[in-house]
Amino acid sequence: MFGGIDPSLLIASLMMASVPILLAALGELVVEKAGVLNLGVEGMMIMGAICGFITAVETGSPMLGFLGGAVGGAALSLLFAVLTQVMQANQVASGLALTLFGIGFSSLLGQSYVGIKPPHLGAVPFGPLADIPFFGKVLFGHDLFVYLSIAAVAAIWAFLKYARGGLILRAVGESHDAAHALGYKVVRIRVLAIAFGGAMAGLGGAYLSLIRVPQWVDGITAGAGWIALAIVVFASWRPWRALLGAWLFGGITVLQLNLQAAQAGIPVEYLSMSPYVITILVLVLMSSGRGKTALNAPACLGQNFHAAR
């Protein structure tokens, strides 16, 4: 059944497929660590996808495209920040609004960009290293963002664990009242975290439209943002486990696409629903395990903060 699939290619494409959800999940992880539940990941991702695509096509530079994607995602996330942090709106509803608006608005922006090929971003030139059998393909044949996303895991892990800023961020997420009493600017810190999450989701979206697909189609994210949200729960708010989760889901996506192509005898529909079904199963496994996930969740997750004094 796996006869036609080359394992080194499978691992290489698994790493590529996991980049968008990994970037988005890392961003959301930081946001949730600050005590904010932003369910608008899907919307920010798709805005990043279209903004990045437009920038890349118009300037001809894929790197500027990624920048545009990050800016697009962050801009939309600031809307969420204004709603929840300034206007005290419900976070769940605001996140949903972000997704509904993002899907509509991105398709509006993308009207005249359907069917265009974006400029190509090649693999990082590792020279002879890329020619090593098996490992060359798996480790040294990727574009810049595969490496950047893994570096981001390490950076965020170190920031949350060792940096003073990370400690403050976690304090705000665990008890906003205590953090406020200590003189930290809860709202300002949360707005920054939200913007960071938006930029990361935007980058992930841009990776989808510029490298993974690569073209613009309506609804390009197809639930990737929601899977990123599930990965944060799966990771129980730990960056390295988010990487594991993203690889797991990247692996499932790639495997089911390969099985579809190889005509393995499993109906296509069962394969294409598998990432979603497995997400549900993983969520069940994680949340049922003696409530450990719930214990690790930031204590102020999803609660609005209003300084009475």
């Binding site: 509803a93 608006f101 993002g102 509509g104 398709s107 009207q111 639930g223």
Partner: protein, 360 residues
């Protein structure tokens, strides 16, 4: 410097006024968006909000209003019960699809039998299909404490692939020359959801929607269950002391929402849509979330909100054909409405005061 001061109790006046204010702001912001798209904003707004009601083709379009509003109201009333209790079912789109498939499957299984009981049985099957689909997040929530938001949303994507399987496989029209899509119900008298009042666009789905509004109103105002729903949303701990069982509420709210969404799907597939096809669903399940909030989670409010949202659908289609306004613009417009609504809610819960800057 402006300062926010929490009101001791939410303002009654602003609670009624915010939807109106939000719609007004959305119209202004939408006008700006249409202007940026190179359309005359006044003409676009008139085409969307005025022409369907009072324009040249109003005699036809007014009827369409109830056709589109029916499923929106039906789904939104169900969702609003859960939203009030803090149970976030955002997978109504999936429950809508599964209801349509379940109901249509029953109708197609007995084709071409003519019997008065077939259509009511299909409605029951539709409700059951939506209910069963909603029970998945409900049971996972109560048994394993799994997040119902993510599960119900994931199930939308699963339902979409089931829909693809149905229309290309097990429900495909055997006389359809291999094309995807089921038999069309318009030619099958016993299973057809025809218009009861053609001019008003009222079919059984519309009747059901109106009945649901009344039932939900009574439930929330007069029944202990409605009180428990409201209580657990506003004060979950107090609700537990008052003997409310949260698990029962989860199963109930998700179940009712699922059953209503499933029914909406069945009414649509046997009526306006006519058949199961790959792109049968048109996002009612997601738009209903906006409708529920626009109606302030109040059944009567939802009735008006559903009609307004239906108007933007119909007006949007008109603007697309007459002015060449992209159909995605309407989707963005509806999303914007939810933004303004959530932002305006500030006025309900807070007072905005002018405050002097304090010395630090």
């Amino acid at each position: 410097m402006l300062k926010l001061e929490r009101r001791p109790t939410p303002s009654q006046f602003w609670s009624r006024a915010t939807p109106v204010l939000a719609v007004a702001l959305t119209v202004v912001a939408g006008g700006i968006m249409f202007a940026l798209l190179g359309k005359n904003p006044f003409e676009a707004i008139r085409t969307i909000f005025w022409d369907p009601l009072f324009g040249e083709f109003a005699w036809y379009l007014r009827g369409q209003l109830m056709v589109k509003a029916g499923p929106l109201i039906l789904i939104a009333v169900g969702l609003s019960l859960g939203f009030r209790a803090g149970i976030w079912n955002i997978g109504a789109e999936g429950q809508y699809i599964m209801g349509a498939i379940a109901g249509a499957a029953l109708g197609l299984a007995v084709f071409p039998t003519e019997n008065r009981l077939i259509f009511p049985a299909m409605v029951m099957a539709g409700a059951l299909g939506g209910w069963a689909w909603a029970m998945i997040p409900a049971i996972l929530k109560t048994r394993f404490n799994t997040n119902e938001i993510l599960v119900s949303l994931m199930l939308v994507y699963v339902a979409q692939t089931v829909l693809a399987m149905a229309s290309t496989g097990f429900l495909r029209n055997p006389e359809g020359a291999g094309f995807p899509g089921s038999r069309n119900f318009s030619g099958y008298e016993a299973a057809r959801n025809g218009f009861l009042w053609e001019g008003a666009g009222l079919h059984w789905g519309g009747v059901m929607a109106l009945a649901t509004v009344v039932a939900a109103y009574v439930l929330l105002q007069r029944h202990i269950l409605g009180f428990q729903i409201k209580l657990s949303g506003q004060a979950p701990r107090a609700a537990r002391y008052a003997g409310v069982k949260p698990d029962r509420l989860v199963v109930l709210c998700l179940g009712v929402a699922g059953a209503l969404a499933g029914m909406a799907g069945l009414f649509e597939v046997s009526g306006p849509a006519g058949q199961i096809s790959i792109d049968f669903n048109s996002g009612y399940g997601f738009t209903a979330i906006i409708v529920a909030f626009l109606g302030r989670l109040n059944p009567v409010g939802i009735l008006f909100a559903g009609l307004l949202m239906a108007l933007t659908y119909i007006g949007g289609e008109m603007a697309a054909t007459n002015l060449g306004l992209p159909s995605a613009a309407i989707q963005a417009f509806q999303g914007m409405l939810l933004f303004f609504l959530l932002a305006c809610d500030l006025l309900t819960n807070f007072r905005i005061r002018l405050a002097k800057r304090e010395a630090h």
